[in-house]
Amino acid sequence: MNLTLRIWRQHSPEDKGAMVTYRVEDISPDMSFLEMLDVLNEELILSGEEPVAFDHDCREGICGACGVVINGQAHGPERTTACQLHMRSFKDGDTIDVEPWRAAAFPVVRDLVVDRSAFDRVIQAGGYVSVPTGSAPEAHATAVPKESADYAFEHAECIGCGACVAACPNGSAMLFTSAKINHLNVLPQGAPERETRVLNMVAAMDGQGFGGCTNTGECATACPKGIPLPSIAAMNREYLRALRKR
């Protein structure tokens, strides 16, 4: 298939940036979206232009490195990551707009690459259980109800790609933050730090310049791992609970 791409090109954070139009031909429907960008980049290099910078690594939907906004949707039209989106989701002759994640907390590094280190700082504020190596009790010392374990897992699946922030009209990281809080707070292992975790992580989240939640639900719709919207409500519950207990 032949496609027209309009891609955001921005040389550096200071550069103003603009959409640039490219054409790609003979694209196989079996290609992933990123493989289609590879084809474009190979052509750009050979024609003496600079290739389009984009983040990617595992290309199997788990590392969370890739992520671009395709036709206004984070990761494109399918509920998956850009690396697992295949060109059969598009039609011959389509024009596809490709833009970087947009959020104040995710400044553009170059082209489609953004700086998501704000996520790391949110985790650093409390997204862990303080258990130095070697100090752990026997694994079976505490039974964890299967329901809690499954709930924890469902939230632990977050890959930190940032699609939630990109999709949110407020650039909010509530879904990301809530996923980690709910993962750890439901487990007995996470209980001792339950209150400090939510208070510190929320404070860090606010401090990183993410917006607030206006419950538009865009985040959960864009999430390739299906972290559900009630996850945010659960975090709010934890937060209010922690405020009362403090």
């Binding site: 009209p169 409500a233 975090m235």
Partner: protein
Amino acid sequence: MGKKAVMAGTGVVMLLFLVVHMLGNLKIFFGPENFNAYAAWLRTIGEPVLHESWYLWIQRTGLLACVVLHGVAAYQLSRRDLAARPAKYVHKQSRASYATRTMRWGGVIVGLFIVWHILDLTTLTVNPRGQAGHPYENVVADFRVWWVDVVYIVAILALGLHIRHGFWSAAQTLGAVNKRRDRALKTTATVLAAVLTAGFLVVPVAVMSGLVD
């Protein structure tokens, strides 16, 4: 996130007031005496412990505080939210519902309406009849003016949308939503919004159609 809780809390208080307000409004269908007597009774709530109209002033103060807090928090949160997303996408595609997307402007419309509504039917400053102690007649006079109907209807529709998203939103902010309750809460929000919208709109419609005269 404290401010979000303020928004949710004040929103819920105002919502409760609106339910009572709407029920009171419906008394208009029982005729002028009934309606005017109800209005007069409102001033006597709390007597003899409270002096005349004291309760009313307490409630007015409380509601005013809610409106101000709700508005200020909304303003501050909105400023932060807009700052968190300075650059827009070139390719625009919004999937959120209309109610969700109109929260900010809907809120402003409702806020302006409240000011006009008080000037109209509480202080009677802009009411076409403006006779104190005769709320029934004032209301009827109001809704005989076409543009008052338009203003009122637009505001109530905005209010309905605001409640539709706001109620569920408050539940989310206060942590009441979970996977099991999610659907029930969304339905409640829709029903609540529909009932309130209908309950408020039925009055001008009745006046316009001559059912209430």
